[in-house]
Amino acid sequence: MKGARATMPDHRIYLLAGAALFVIGFYSLLVQAHLLRRIMALNVMGSGVFLVFIALGALTPGAFPDPVPNAMVLTGIVVSVCATGLGLALADRLQTDADKVELEDGPETSRNTTDTKEESGG
């Protein structure tokens, strides 16, 4: 009992660190312009969530940490790797095709950007 009580603050530290990572990641996603930085920001956010999961799994009373959150984090990591891959592929394509490493703000909705003649072919 004494040991369990002594370890409690450690878990809270992980919980808070996870929350902090999430906030830092989200803030960077909003303020950074470079696509690569924004993709990294998403990864930092994800790491924060995973840390919260693990910390909460350890908080459950008992001799062993709860395995269910660990399994969820493993799934989450797989998803996050796929997401990063997709993001990098898109960013790469934007750089090659449009020579852009940042998002353009709202030109998609403006009046004259999309002339679809080339799309319809002959």
Binding site: A71, L90, K100, L103, T114, G121
Partner: protein, 492 residues
């Protein structure tokens, strides 16, 4: 075939078809149609099972929760699966011709990758509707997001890539908000099962934080005002069949999770203040989306802004169905509205695709006389517009009528004003297109020929959107099966 196997097949059929379509690129359309046949058969079996014995369960691998994954189907899930197979079949029939009409450098690439991505999207949607726990919902939400983002990027143009990238950022960060909420819920309740949560969850600060995070993420994905900014560029720049899938189905996936969360897992937290807040955002979406639709220069952007507005109506379901008495009236109204919107919006985007191909542009002010060259498409657009405006006997009318009845029964008259004003605005933006389309021009330009299938699929969906109002009693009965207890009066 038992219901349990039908549930597995509903996910496996499109998934296997996606893998095969990737391996055999020339057979993509056939794979999609085969998948449509299998999914329809499985859905019929499942629907019979649900009608006879209530909610049906499939324990993946025989493990069962919490270590395994449970899949569950009730009336609401069956209805959503039905709408999905309908839209997906129509889009499959349409897309085969749509992509063969394109001849630019990227066209073979598009025609090849559309099919596996579309089938992945379908598998993800089916898995989402069948998920019984909030973590599995996260996984399916991500699968859905990946397929949707890649489909937007498929158009290949610079605007489309830009829109896809923004969509990816919104989608991923929103999913992480949702996932953080899932972690907190698990820490608090030690379960992620929707039904178990419904019995266990007691309001507390941790749960409020969790639910706020999850709702924020899902609202961004469902493009609820003011988090709708990513939707018009993404939906308008995608190829027409993709726009149809996104507007008709993908945004509804997140809305579906919101329903499951608030009405099934955490009904105790759906206080009147929360419900009214949802309604207020929905009302703002109706007005903002409709007014923006009125001023769009391009047809696809108009239809996309109309989606922002129509999604607003769905969120009126929260204050009306969460009001404890006569909740089921609004619940069924909102979901019939969802079905009608799915059919009507698909018809509209498919029509917009036809116009793009035939005329080479979709500028609304240059659409004069389009009825001469595309009479069936113009008629389909008009019928779909009928349902969006909510004129009888359309499905849009039936849905709005049930919602209005709930408003009046509960004395929440302020939503009546919003809905009537929204209908007027919808009439205005639909008429704006039809006015140009029906303008007589003495010498219409010769259009590029359009295969009849592309016009007829749009028309059939528009007719279904209108006809849904006549058979609305049937989906209402299906929705009763396993309806959340909070609705009251859901019993027979």
């Amino acid at each position: 075939m038992t219901s349990s196997w039908a549930i597995a097949l509903l996910i496996l059929a499109p998934l296997a078809a996606a893998a095969l379509a990737f391996a055999f690129p020339k057979r993509g359309c056939r794979m999609a149609l085969a998948s449509a046949v299998i999914v329809t058969a499985a859905l019929v079996v499942l629907a019979r099972g649900v009608l006879a014995g209530g909610a049906q369960l499939h324990r993946v691998g025989g493990w069962g929760a919490p270590l395994g994954i449970d899949l569950r189907a009730d009336g609401l899930a069956v209805l959503m699966l039905g709408i999905t197979v309908l839209i997906a079949s129509a889009v499959a029939l349409y897309s085969r011709h749509f992509f063969s009409l394109e001849h630019d450098g990227e066209a073979p690439h598009r025609a090849r990758y559309f099919w596996p991505l579309f089938l992945f999207l379908w598998a993800a949607l089916n898995a989402l509707f069948l998920s019984a726990d909030i973590f599995n919902l996260y996984v399916t939400l991500e699968l859905l997001g990946f397929a949707a983002v890649t489909l937007v990027a498929l158009a290949g143009r610079r605007e489309a890539l830009n829109a896809a990238m923004r969509y990816l950022f919104v989608s991923l960060s929103a999913s992480l908000f949702y996932l953080l909420g899932v972690a907190l819920v698990y820490g608090q309740c030690a379960t992620v099962d929707l039904t178990a949560l419904g019995a266990k969850a007691q309001p507390g600060p941790a749960l409020w934080v969790a639910l706020t995070l999850m709702t924020g993420g899902l609202a961004a994905k469902a493009a609820l005002f003011p988090l709708h900014f990513w939707l018009p560029p993404a939906h308008a720049n995608a190829p027409a069949p993709v726009s149809a899938l996104l507007s008709a189905l993908v945004v509804k996936g997140s809305f579906y999770i919101l329903l499951r969360l608030w009405f099934e897992a955490f009904p105790a937290l759906l206080t009147p203040a929360v419900a009214q807040a949802f309604g207020a955002l929905g009302a703002a979406a109706i007005l903002w989306g409709s007014i923006n639709a009125l001023f769009q220069p391009r047809l696809k952007l108009l239809v996309a802004y109309s989606t922002v507005a129509q999604l607003g109506y769905l969120f009126l379901l929260f204050p009306l169905a969460g009001a404890r008495d006569d909740g089921f009236l609004a619940w069924s109204g909102g979901l019939i509205f969802l079905g009608a919107h799915a059919c009507a919006k698909t018809a509209m985007f498919l029509t917009a695709g036809n116009i793009l191909h035939a005329a080479g542009h979709d500028r609304i002010r240059d659409l004069d006389g389009i009825t001469h060259v595309l009479p069936i498409s113009a008629f389909a657009f008009g019928l779909a517009g009928l349902s969006l405006v909510g004129l009888p006997p359309s499905g849009g009318f039936a849905g709005k009528w049930l919602l209005l009845s709930a408003c009046l029964a509960q004395g929440q008259w302020w939503w009546v004003i919003v809905m009537l004003f929204g209908s007027l605005l919808a009439a205005a933006y639909v008429m704006r297109v039809l006015n140009h389309a029906f303008t007589h021009v003495p010498d219409p330009a010769t259009p590029n020929p359009i295969p009849p299938v592309m016009e007829w699929t749009a028309l059939v969906l528009a007719v279904l959107a209108v006809g849904l109002g006549l058979v609305a009693a049937w989906p209402v009965e299906v929705l009763r099966l396993g309806a959340p207890a909070i609705l009251g009066g859901a019993g027979p």
